[in-house]
């Protein structure tokens, strides 16, 4: 990589580069508090204060590429759902869980408008598309169970991409996907209605995390702290100006303000779900997600999530 862009700016040259990777679905933007910190420039500012220069990079098509970049040392930090983080840690790449940025990653189920399906219970015998190996898989199984259905009662179809085309063409009856996607389908594109979301049960939600390579963080602890500081500032901004925060989310994700409010306004602008801190509740959730992955045979190596998480950066940032 040739990064020597402006050779005469000596102060910029002295800064050490920190590379952050995250999955993107839309317009090079990651949802949530991280996206807000990036968009508002806080992340860049905080890192610069500690002598770092931010190089952020979105990865189309989510998880795997971010993990590959992290494993091969092409990025230092990753901001994404806890599932890929668990996968990479379980694969023996030495990483550190620095922050649980969101303890309420939502998912939902959307069906065709005139399908006659009103609740999860009606899904008996139907085809449901879902992305295998993500927290949505866990949510879907839990939701089905809650409504008295087992895996055998429905036809589950693994679709990591293009599920919406299958819904539109009638090849599947329902899609389980992330909150953002189903809201987009239901409210923006008007091609379906939401029959269930993880808002119903906090156990069904996923978590979003910031992790970093241990060999980078050791010696560059200040970079990790700077991330947390920026996130804290972004959360404060959102709490103080909820309306502008919704606007930013709406604009960057190309959705309407109403949809943004639906997605982020569940606690009326308190933004409690941007926990940032690594507290026991969040760790429990991550740990149960890890257990799910192991039970499903998706990963083999167990590890201790409570050891993985390291709240010292949050504490340092709050000091």
């Amino acid at each position: 990589g040739c990064t020597a862009g402006g050779g005469n700016d000596s102060s910029a040259d002295d800064l050490k580069e920190v590379k952050l990777g995250y999955p993107i679905g839309a317009n090079d933007f990651i949802d949530g508090v991280g996206g807000l910190a990036l968009e508002l420039g806080y992340l860049e500012e905080e890192l610069e204060k500690e002598g770092f220069k931010l190089n952020s990079q979105g990865f189309t098509g989510a998880g795997p590429a971010v993990n590959e970049a992290l494993a091969s040392g092409n990025i230092d930090f990753a901001l994404y759902a806890d599932f890929p983080g668990i996968v990479i840690q379980s694969r023996g790449i030495d990483t550190r869980l620095i922050s649980i940025v969101n303890t309420q990653g939502h998912a939902g189920i959307v069906v065709g408008d005139d399908s006659g399906i009103e609740s999860v219970a009606d899904l008996k015998g139907k085809k449901i598309a879902y992305p295998r190996g993500t927290f949505i898989q866990k949510y879907l199984l839990q939701a089905l169970e809650e409504y008295g259905l087992s895996e055998a009662d429905v036809e589950l179809i693994n679709m990591t991409t293009d599920a919406e085309a299958a819904l539109v063409s009638g090849d599947v009856d329902a899609i389980a996907y992330t909150d953002g996607v189903i809201a987009n389908l239901a409210f923006e594109k008007n091609i379906g209605k939401i029959i269930n979301t993880s808002r119903e049960n906090d156990d069904w939600t996923g978590a979003f995390v910031l992790i970093g390579r241990s060999d980078f963080i050791d010696g560059n602890e200040k970079a990790a702290t700077a991330f947390l500081r920026a996130f804290i500032r972004a959360k404060e901004y959102a709490v103080e100006n909820p309306q502008s925060a919704y606007e930013i989310f709406a604009e960057k994700s190309r959705i309407s303000i109403e949809t943004a409010e639906y997605l982020y306004g569940s606690d009326d602008g308190a933004f409690e779900f941007f926990s940032l801190e690594i507290e026991p509740l969040g760790l429990d959730k991550v740990s149960s997600n890890k257990d799910f992955l192991i039970n499903e045979g998706l990963i083999q190596n167990d590890f201790d999530v409570y050891q993985w998480g390291d709240n010292s950066y949050y504490e340092e940032a709050n000091r």
Binding site: I88, R91, A165
Partner: protein, 252 residues
Amino acid sequence: MNKKVNNLNATGLILPLIILLAWHLSVQSGMFPPAILPPIGDVARAFLNMMESGLLVGDILVSLTRVLRGYLLAIFAGVTLGTLMGTSKHINDFFTLTLNSIRQIPILAWIPLIILWLGIGEESKVAVIFLAAFFPILINTISGMRSTPKGLVEVAALYKLSGWMTFKKVYFPSALPQIFVGLKLGLGISWVAVVAAELIAASSGIGFRISDARSMMEPDVMIVGMISIGVLGVSMDKALTLILERITPWKK
């Protein structure tokens, strides 16, 4: 003949061995993280596991069926249309612009439309493979037909051979070596496309296994998948070479 084949195999094995050695040494040196480039032993173990559980054979059969269906369709359509386009200027003019445009469009971009038209069953996976294999076969067939010596076409004209007979006796055998270049390329690309095809609602198949292993960071399984495809592809390619030799006895 037989001796030649053996010779080829011996020389051909040098480079793979060098690659294996380089792989082994670079993993040993700790240069690459095993989460991306695992030790050869891990791959062997993953292979044995997948063989034992029947997973690998199952995946191969599923993907092989898809590849064969898409590829055979592509041969049929590519050779037929290629013949028409290579021998008739009108047909050529009619299709060239459209096919040339379609040819450039990424396969991944087709997937939503393919799902819309063909659903999420086998048809759509076969269609993706067809779309990938069709163009190399088409273009090589056209070019092969065009390079048929005019003198020989004149001989057919002289004996008033029907269009079909002229095709069978002159154009086709003349174009055959180049059609086979297309068939080989098309076959290779069919296997390349199998991953894209199995992004559409698949839960088995070697392409699905590769994507799945990738998202679960199981490079050993992934490499087993890659090697399986390599071996399958090479075997089918070799079969094509033998068929070509068999059906073109005039080429020595």
